[in-house]
């Protein structure tokens, strides 16, 4: 039940971050149409185009359903398209002028203007109804239609659906690989009797964990995807993806490039694997110090069975938590891998959208990552109840 309020709050946050971003969105749109504020066009032409675009994009509407402002403020300052004029008016309003007084004196320099005697105005509540920017935006979110991409005019949702399979493939395969290697390795590590040996292996794990992913990925690309440094190193295919054969669905296209996903998956997995090994080892050791393990030993059950059948099963919840929490982190961390390996996933989509200030796509991608994270944690909770029937949702949680 907390999913909806969480997503709602996220939506509000995204709207206001978008709104307060340091760039003028109208300038950005016009720049893409070839009209630059300081380009080869005179101010009048630019201003006309600016006002038209400002209105088209709905920026002349109030920000939210209501506003609280001193009574000398107009209904909304957004009606003034020119940002300079808007700023000047706001400064005057702060000094206590009304809009009419500002209009009469605006031709004067600031120091020539006469402030009114009574320059304090009580705050007043203004209701704007549903004709506001936030309402328009939230309706698009509810319909899961985040608008068109500012860059290419295509639906943001369509762009996301094309990119998602790549990232999901990367994340799922890296989590599977991590689990397949880290879990047995961690259990094996916990069985090493020599503390020195165990600590040495853990130290190696920490060293691997501390290697930055971007550096590892760059080295892997440089050395292992071409023969420049020796044919023997050219183990993996080139980066990027192959051309698509006609009539191929997106998932079929992803799987036709499965070989090209292997090295990025390994780079992503290695980093998390190093961390996971130590966590698994520590979890198993904690279990092995429990009383029931001593009972099992006294019963004559062999050590391997104790580790795999009893300690592992009882330590599954923290291990599962670690694996599940790796998914959202891998989603966010896919940006670097996708840029370096030239994969068209949501990480790279986010990267290019941020560079281009394409807020519709940025909002959608952030929203989607949050949604996936929430779903993943929810599924994790369900799995806990299945693994350990003693775990139940309390009434307060539901």
């Amino acid at each position: 039940m907390l999913i909806i309020p969480t997503l709602g709050l996220l939506a509000i946050l995204l709207f206001f971050v978008n709104h307060q971003a340091g760039q003028d969105s109208v300038d950005r749109w016009l720049e893409m149409e070839g009209l630059d504020r300081l380009g080869d066009f005179d101010d009048d032409s630019y201003y006309k185009a600016y006002v038209q675009k400002y209105s088209e994009l709905g920026f002349d509407k109030p920000d939210f359903y209501f506003s609280v402002a001193p009574s000398n403020y107009p209904k909304t300052l957004n009606e003034i398209a020119n940002p300079e004029e808007r700023k000047e008016l706001k400064e005057s309003l702060c000094l206590g002028y009304t809009t009419e007084e500002f209009e009469k004196q605006r031709h004067l320099e600031v120091f020539e203007r006469h402030p009114p005697h009574n320059s304090w105005h009580a705050p007043s509540f203004r209701w704007h109804g549903v004709d506001n920017q936030f309402h328009q935006w939230i309706m698009t979110v509810v319909r899961f239609d985040f608008g068109d991409s500012v860059l290419d005019g295509r639906s943001s949702v369509k762009k996301l659906w094309e990119a998602l399979p790549w990232t999901l493939s990367l994340v799922i395969f890296s989590i599977i690989l991590t689990t397949l290697i880290a879990v047995p390795f961690g259990i094996w590590l916990s069985g090493i009797k020599s503390a020195q040996k165990r600590n040495l292996i853990k130290l190696c794990s920490f060293l691997v964990y501390s290697i930055p992913v971007f550096w590892l990925a760059t080295l892997a690309v440089m050395f292992m995807t071409n023969s420049t440094y020796g044919e023997f190193l050219h183990i993996f295919p080139s980066v990027g993806v192959r051309f698509r054969e006609s009539e191929m669905s997106t998932w079929a296209y992803v799987f036709s490039n499965i070989d090209r996903l292997l090295l990025p998956v390994i780079c992503m997995a290695i980093h998390y694997m190093a961390f996971a090994v130590v966590q698994v080892e520590s979890t198993i050791n904690r279990q092995l110090s429990e009383h029931y393990i001593q009972t099992l030993r006294m019963k004559g059950i062999n050590e391997r069975s104790i580790r795999w059948k009893y300690a592992f099963r009882n330590g599954l919840i923290p291990i599962l938590t670690m694996i599940i929490s790796g998914i959202p982190s891998a989603l966010g961390g896919s940006v670097i891998i996708e840029v370096i390996f030239n994969l068209p996933g949501i990480g790279r989509l986010l990267f290019s959208s941020i560079n281009a200030a394409d807020w519709n796509v940025i909002s959608l991608v952030v929203f989607m990552i949050a949604l996936i994270s929430i779903i993943v944690y929810f599924v994790g909770d369900l799995i806990y109840t299945w693994i350990n029937p003693k775990v139940r949702f309390s009434k307060t949680e539901i």
Partner: protein, 589 residues
């Protein structure tokens, strides 16, 4: 332990699945593979005229004329010849100028239909439809008053301008016409005249009864006409496009331009142009080395130099460095008390070691410039020499102008109208590493002469909108980019534009320079116009309104099995001219 060994072999097995499965590139494959830094997003020159898109659409949408890669001369492509401007002496447009042109008989769209004058008229009308996202084109074409068709010759037409101006010929000939029958199959724009479209009152009036142009504009702006339907007159057609991954342009079969093999814009040597979107430069270079790319343009100086050194003995690549029509400069606000002094500005010019900047930051790949006009242009001043780095001369100028350190704080100062001014400046720099490094070198040198410069980092867009536009700055590291058309200095250097919101951001201008600019703009004789250009450069050289640094060069690596043209015109190369050829001597433009 057994499980561990099993897991290890399982891992090796998985790895072996990923072993290189790439096909070797056959020597007889004729496509050329080119790196793109970013996806072009839209292929529609009117709606999205940005450089990343131009790199693609220049092969699909030809213009009537374009600037030849060898000498930047305006060269006809779709038309029989460049028109001469004729003065109109009578009639509705008396006092204006007419350009008469005719499309080549052979010129066709990629679907085989003829290119006609009606297509040109449609293009101009569409640009003037205020609901079409073509603010740039609309302003660029605002001087076109009318396009007159000839009923007995569908290929012939006249373009009427109410006022002639110096780049009128370039304006009317360098636009990319659109096929009317594809982009407006219902003939919506036919019922509107150009005069109506340019009159906002008439448009508002008519929209009350006929809103069809709104629907037309919505469709024209949409992804349909930017991605799905892309029809032009060029040698290549869009074959495949995976967003953010690659684009393939396929050579047209039986292309009409094959009849003009000497026109570089109509050549089509590669069977296809395969553009791969590779944002990361290190990845792009790896792909170049592995054979997945043939051309990597826009390289950084360090990568270019490293690859060049690496390739010295191999000879696998050609290294192209066409001159870009761009220059870097340090903008100075001539309106401040300190920088209004010409000697201070000249002293600052002497303090910038531009040679050292080119050597260290561009690894020697760059050309000094003495002013606003590119050295590649034929009106660049032939005798003026770039300002040399000379701290002694700088100090002398400052001493002569009365700037001395009277308060012993290491910074020169001077009393002006009762107020003590110090040579203490903030220089605005963006996140660009080049700008930051230039400023650091400048700062170091300026200190020797008793000038203090502090770096202030800010996002470039904000520098322009909050500081430059409002004239609220001392100095800023900036870049000026133009194209191959003759430069009109009016916007940037005439005192008419020395107001907030207009483009004379430095405050430069004298009566003499204003007069020269006005004469230059009105002059139709090219030789006389060049004389005006030279005079203006002499004044700017003397005034040093900004510190002109250098013109960068494009840096590209091309596989040596290809041979073709590079160009000063963006993007710096013409991929359609790249011919598969054995390694031989290659002369750059």
């Amino acid at each position: 332990m057994n499980r561990l060994i099993t897991s290890f072999f399982l891992f090796l097995f998985i790895v072996s699945l990923g072993c290189k499965t790439d096909k070797k590139v056959s020597a007889h494959d004729l496509p050329i593979k080119i790196r793109l830094k970013a996806d072009p997003q839209k292929i529609n020159p009117m709606v999205y005229p940005v450089s990343t898109a131009r790199e693609i659409y220049q092969y699909i949408f030809l213009s009537l004329a374009d600037f030849h890669p060898d000498d930047l001369s305006l060269t006809p492509i779709l038309i029989e010849a460049l028109p001469k401007g004729e003065r109109i002496t009578e009639g509705k447009y008396a006092g204006g100028t007419k350009f008469s042109m005719r499309f080549l008989d052979a010129a066709k769209w990629s679907d085989g239909t003829d290119i006609t004058a009606a297509d040109y008229l449609f293009t101009v009308k569409t640009a003037n439809n205020t609901s079409v996202n073509a603010a740039g084109w609309r302003t660029y074409l605002k001087e076109i008053s009318d396009v007159v068709l000839y009923p007995d010759d569908p290929k012939k037409f006249d373009v009427i301008l109410a006022n002639d101006y110096m780049v009128a010929l370039e304006t009317v000939t360098t636009i990319n016409p659109y096929p009317k029958h594809i982009y407006d199959p219902n003939g919506v724009m036919d019922s509107w005249t150009l005069e109506e479209l340019k009159d906002s009152d008439k448009v508002s009036e008519r929209l009350k009864v006929d809103s069809s142009i709104l629907a037309f504009a919505k469709e024209f702006n949409s992804a349909k006409f930017s991605r799905d339907v892309v029809v032009g007159s060029g040698p290549y057609v869009l074959d495949q496009w995976e967003a953010d991954q690659y684009l393939i342009l396929k050579r047209q079969e039986n292309f009409w331009g094959d009849a003009y093999p000497n026109n570089p814009f109509l050549q089509a040597f590669p069977s296809s142009l395969q553009f791969s979107v590779v944002p990361d430069e290190a990845t792009a270079l790896t792909l170049l080395k592995s054979g997945e790319l043939d051309l990597v343009p826009g390289m950084s100086s360090s990568s270019f130099d490293a690859l060049r050194k690496e390739d010295e003995s191999e000879g696998d690549y050609r290294f192209l460095t066409p001159q870009l029509i761009r220059y870097y400069y340090i903008g100075l606000n001539n309106r401040t008390a300190q920088l209004s002094d010409k000697n201070v500005r000249k002293a600052l010019a002497y303090l910038v070691d531009v040679e050292r900047i080119i050597e260290t930051l561009e690894l020697g790949i760059g050309t000094r410039t003495i002013g606003h006009f590119n050295p590649a242009k034929n009106y660049y001043h032939p005798t003026l020499k770039p300002v040399e780095h000379d701290v002694t001369k700088a100090k002398q100028l400052l001493d002569n102008s009365g700037w001395k350190d009277t308060n012993d704080n290491g910074i020169r100062d001077k009393m002006i109208e009762g107020v003590l001014y110090e040579l203490d400046f903030d220089i605005l720099v963006s996140a660009s590493k080049l700008g930051q490094r230039v400023s650091l070198i400048f700062q170091e040198s300026a200190k020797e002469a008793g000038i203090n410069i502090e770096l202030v980092q800010k996002e470039f867009r904000l520098i322009r909108s909050e500081n430059i536009a409002k004239r609220d700055y001392d100095m800023a590291t900036l870049v000026s980019t133009s194209d191959a058309a003759p430069v009109d200095p009016y916007d940037k250097w005439h005192t008419d534009n020395d107001v907030i919101g207009k483009r004379n951001e430095t405050g430069f201008g004298t009566t003499e320079s204003d007069e020269i600019i006005e004469n230059l703009r009105a002059e139709t004789n090219l030789d006389q116009r060049n004389i005006y250009y030279h005079k203006l450069q002499e004044i700017m050289y003397d005034e040093q309104p900004v510190i002109f640094l250098y013109c960068p060069k494009e840096k590209m690596a091309l596989r040596s099995s290809f041979n073709g043209k590079s160009s000063s015109n963006r993007p710096g190369y013409l991929a359609n001219t790249f011919e598969y050829a054995p390694v031989q001597e290659f002369s750059e433009n």
